[in-house]
Symmetry: C2
């Protein structure tokens, strides 16, 4: 890579690899470190995760309120804890605010953050508040308690079934709706998926309690990115049947079937859980607290996408972390 | 406060109080939460701290390199762990980078971050990397292991002596030197205090191991702010003798005695440890791994500053978190 290369050229995985190259990544008391939804630390069995949301990258004041941002900043971390099969505990907040940010905006942010924390069992245990000249930046580090063994991305076994919760594409569809000038009231469901994502906490804990889930992660970047991630972490392949994807039913009437499928595969921010279980688990999953769909199976190698019974081209993953174009453009 | 009030009007403590008003701040597994250098979580005895550094607020590319920023972002968290009497463990990094940030800059950042992590026993256990349109933002959440009982800000007892490590004012003096056009080589010691702060890890662990320290914090905002903080947390007063302050000896020749004292009291970012011990601990402290100075004593109430044996006006604290003027202007 030339000396003029930028982090956008490197992409998210390249940035992570570079950091891991220069930094020690293991030490006394670390059970499971980088590369999963959360790290597991020894003693007391905490999992730890962190995610940052940045003005203009993750939200735009044209489409989101301070309350939406407070909710989302915690929800994206709750989703990682859910994907480990853990329940939320203390969180640590670093908050960068422009000097001219209104107290009323901060109140809206804090009220929604606090409401989601209270509803999910998380609590504010510390943090840092600083001036951020160019815009709001919210970084949360959340600890969680695994209800059983922490569920990792690694662990999928050949022959397992691949399942996903809820519906896909709604969050990106809601943002597209707003960006194209739609009124929030016109598609309240989709807009809520973008503004106020829900972490699948009850499902994650329910799945982990039984110990039957072999691998799990949350869909933050889209199935096109996160499916291959689960396969790579587990050292297996996947066969994914596009005909079985639970694409949000509101998307096709609004944007057409091709765009709807694209949003479901690469839109990201759905925060649904993707997990693998033995095929014998199907009857058990009928009782899951959130609807779940079987979308494929675990194979020996390679990620193969099929439609109408035939292999199709793999969807092109979108790097939402260092995008060539902002989501909000 | 009027509806047009801003977070700068509120100030750091006001922002913290607002967040704590709206968010739950206690829960199962939390032993010690907000208001100390770090939180203590149950099970395995981890302390957890977090700090964010933001371009233009905490550093300026005119005065600091990417390597300096990588070092500083970890050092400010290490200092909080030192102030709890703990040793560093896993850390979690959220990194916001402009899309056009050079890979070479990221490499410089990561190399210095990794070198300090390796030298201090910390390791990278997870994180999130995102595009940040307006500038670099680095937030680190660091876990530490207390070597004995975690040393809190609360605990100072009337009659205890007040001590501080090292020298004060050097970090702000180094920044002032650069901002006034001085060459880095001309005052390498002061400039290093600004660019590459050192956390007092060995001292913090040494002090905590003996169990004789009644209260401790690190001087991130300056003695004028952090001294009263220790007093308030402990429910005591302080008598601080300005004549005994270990003002960095380079400051007076450069800036005059009045400015030198001001830098020592309100400049911030020295990351020295401020702590209280029984008066009988004086001989023991002669063996401390870092030079320490006795600068006062713990009283029943009020923070009284003296010079030449007489009370003087209290120094005006500077809010470095939401400043009326940037450090870098």
């Amino acid at each position: 890579m030339s000396s003029a290369a930028t982090v956008t050229d490197l992409g998210e995985q390249g940035v992570i690899d570079l950091l891991a190259h220069y930094c020690p990544t293991t030490g006394e008391g670390g059970v499971l470190g980088m590369g999963d939804d959360a790290a597991v630390v020894a003693g007391g069995g905490w999992v730890v995760t962190t995610d940052m949301v940045v003005e203009s990258t993750h939200f735009d004041w044209r489409y989101s309120s301070p309350a939406d941002v407070g909710h989302k900043a915690l929800a994206v971390n709750l989703s990682d804890v859910a994907a480990m099969g853990a329940t939320p505990g203390p969180f640590f907040l670093t908050l960068g605010l422009p000097a001219g940010a209104a107290v009323a905006a901060l109140e809206g942010f804090a009220a929604a953050l606090g409401a989601l924390a209270a509803a999910s069992g998380a609590w504010l245990a510390g943090g840092d508040t600083v001036a951020s000249p160019a815009g709001w930046v919210v970084s949360i580090c959340l600890l969680g308690r695994p209800v059983g063994e922490p569920v990792q991305r690694a662990g999928a076994r050949i022959g397992d079934s691949l399942w996903v919760s809820g519906t896909l594409g709604g969050a990106a569809g809601g943002l597209r709706w707003l960006a194209e000038g739609g009124s929030p009231e016109g598609q309240a469901g989709l807009v809520a998926r973008h503004r106020r994502p829900a972490a699948r906490l009850a499902l994650g804990a329910w799945l982990a309690r039984e110990g039957r889930v072999s691998a799990m992660l949350d869909l933050s970047d889209g199935l096109a990115t996160d499916g291959p991630r689960l396969a790579a972490a587990s050292g297996v392949g996947l066969a994914i049947d596009l005909d079985t994807l639970p694409v949000d039913p509101m998307l096709e009437p609004l944007f057409g079937s091709s765009a709807a499928l694209g949003l479901a595969l690469t839109g990201g921010e759905d925060f649904e859980l993707l997990f693998t279980v033995p095929p014998t688990a199907r009857p058990w999953l009928a009782a899951a607290p959130t609807p779940v769909s079987c979308i494929g199976r675990v194979t020996a190698a390679g990620v193969v996408w099929t439609a109408g019974g035939r292999p199709v081209a793999a969807p092109t993953p979108v790097d939402h972390h260092f995008p060539r174009r902002s989501r909000h453009e």
